[in-house]
């Protein structure tokens, strides 16, 4: 029994990591007032570039930088369309996702070595191995927490940093002001557009890293559609977290846990058809959304940044 718990805990944490990265990235973005529905596409491209560059360079650091750069470029495109060109943010985000998935699929069939008919599928490259923290990792059950890969340890530090930045620093306050009331922020001398650009691009880098965790650690290697809708679950997790980085961990653990239970049940061989188990994360997302929306109306608390999804236009005379 303890082994069962330990294994569920280990899978939960592993499955949660990519979700936390992307959720954090989306929180930065949305807090500044930009809605980025391109998460799924950015994660896919992050996963692809991370795996491809790890495969050719043999370096995990290069892979992580590549994933972050890809995320920055795609999120930068979104920022340009939404902030400078004032495009519809929903459609622009969808566009990033469609383009990202198409490009990832294309590159997955062109970037591979000649020996594998230029495919990236089925190759194995360098992967992140768990780094056990001496002493702590041998604690029964909870030891799994101290036997994770580098990106997983890093994400928990980033969560605390995000919380500190958003709620305890001047720049964090500026970022939130740009998302809550851009008119007033502008009047106070905050460069709204620059802040939004920075938040969106930094957010994209984190989302890209989330993708990298999938192809380097969680399910090492490249597979078409490796994200399986995680990018969309992330959008829901941001709502669940009420745009608070600390609560994002809770949500990611919840969804990681659903993944883990699904795995264990499938491995144990249940009477429930696999398809129904695989539906769980998606159905859970819908349920979470219903509960959160209902609760928000009931408690009259609105978590979303007031200017989320709206372009800021300074009225010119």
């Amino acid at each position: 029994m303890p082994e069962l718990f330990a294994s569920i805990l280990a899978i939960t944490l592993g499955a949660g990591t990519s979700l936390i990265y992307a959720t954090l990235g989306e929180i930065y973005t949305e807090r500044s007032g930009v809605l980025n529905l391109g998460v799924e596409g950015i994660m896919l491209m992050g996963a692809l570039t991370a795996f491809a560059s790890a495969f050719y360079s043999g370096s995990l650091i290069v892979a992580m930088i590549a994933a972050m750069a890809t995320g920055a470029v795609l999120a930068g495109m979104h920022a340009f369309l939404c902030i400078t060109m004032r495009a519809n943010q929903v459609v622009s985000g969808l566009c990033i996702t469609l383009f990202g998935s198409g490009l990832a699929s294309f590159l997955g069939q062109t970037l591979g070595p000649q020996s594998n008919s230029r495919y990236l599928v089925g190759l194995s490259g360098p992967k992140m191995t768990p780094l056990a923290i001496p002493g702590l990792h041998s604690i029964p059950i909870l030891g799994a927490v101290f036997n994770q890969d580098l990106l997983t340890y890093l994400v928990y530090l980033l969560v605390i940093a995000a919380w500190f930045f958003l709620y305890r620093t001047k720049s964090g306050l500026n970022l939130r002001a740009a998302g809550e009331n851009p008119q007033t922020a502008d009047a106070m001398g905050i460069p709204v557009s620059k802040v939004r650009y920075a938040a969106t691009i930094w957010g994209g880098m984190l989302i890209g890293l989330g993708g990298a965790h999938l192809s380097l650690a969680y399910t090492p290697g490249w597979a078409e559609n490796i994200t399986g809708g995680r990018g969309w679950i992330v959008i829901a997790l941001v709502i669940f977290a009420m745009w608070n980085p600390l609560r994002a961990v809770l949500g990611a653990i919840l969804f990681g846990g659903i993944n883990a239970v699904q795995f264990r049940l499938q491995a144990a061989g249940t009477v429930i058809p696999a398809a129904y188990l695989n539906m769980l994360p998606y159905l859970a997302t819908i349920l979470v959304l219903i509960v959160m929306t209902w609760w928000e109306t009931l408690s009259k608390r609105i978590g979303a940044p007031a200017a989320l999804g709206r372009a800021y236009v300074r009225e010119e005379k």
């Binding site: 340009f80 294309f106 809708g229 959008i235 959304l289």
Partner: protein, 369 residues
Amino acid sequence: MRFLFEKRKAKSRPALFLVPLISFVLSLALAGILLALFRANPLQTYAAMFWGAFGSWANFSEILVKTIPLILTGLAVSVAFRMEFWNIGAEGQLTMGGVATAGVALFWSQNVPAWVVLPLALSAGVLAGALWAGIPAALNAYLKVNETLTTLMLNYVAILFSQHLYYGPWRDPKGYGFPGTAYFPEAAWLPRITGRVHLGLVFAVLLALLLWVAINRTRWGFETRIIGQNRTAARYLGIPIATTIVITLLISGGLSGLSGATEVTGISRRLQQGLSMGYGYTAIIVAWLAQLNPIAVLFVSLLMAVLLVGGDQIQMTMGLPAAMALVLQGLILFPMLAGALFTEYRLILVHANTGKAKAIVAERSPDHA
């Protein structure tokens, strides 16, 4: 000196036509750079795509085959987007339509007269698609649950459900393990016009015309437009917002459901792997490129189908992945989104020293002087 955007008094008419056209050309150029990076000659590739698509009657009829579901889902997405209801669940609604139609065709066809089978099967598909869109619609209309996420999540649920059926309980016992149901009885086959082009093409074109009339000439069309432009105004005008959302989404889902229904009865004649080919996602591009105009959807769908068939062809002739078509489709909207600004704004140059604005794109209107 810097550039500023100034709002136009009215949407620019030439820009309405020019922007999509320029977007298409720009996307070809951008994808060309990508192709060049992968040691493929862009012009040669586009020529191969073009001749692949139009080079033979067989391929051209394949374009029409792919146009049908694109029109139907494109219309489905358009009617929802007009209300700023972001239905990105056309893929799932299409799938559920295919599943319901297959269910009727496979298991009910023995109990009813032969001429009833096809209309009954198609209606089941329309109904299933409508209900699948009705769930997120009702959740949004009455509980304000984010529709983008619910419609998208239900795609995964629908696709997993259909896979479960054709891999499991509905699998053809004589199919040697092929992931698919048995063929439908002939009474449930949708007649074909030529090649694999089926009657769905007629449905799609008629529905596009019907929707154009409904949008421009009926109260419903007016109400959905107001809801999309300004919900507060809609409320003051006494428009029943929740009811209109649900009804419109039943129509939207029904259209996608019909596309699934005509795919299974007209093309595969059974439920099998490959029903969800991503038409529901391409539909988003179709709808936006067509600027949510049903008539324009007809032509944009044709263009997207050309890209899809051309993509399949370059895979065969040049060994380039067919996903190239997806990259091209994804790229088309970027210039389009950026260019939309020019239909509502014009670019003006502002001199920082004098603060005086000078219109460089269009002449200035008298009251600005």
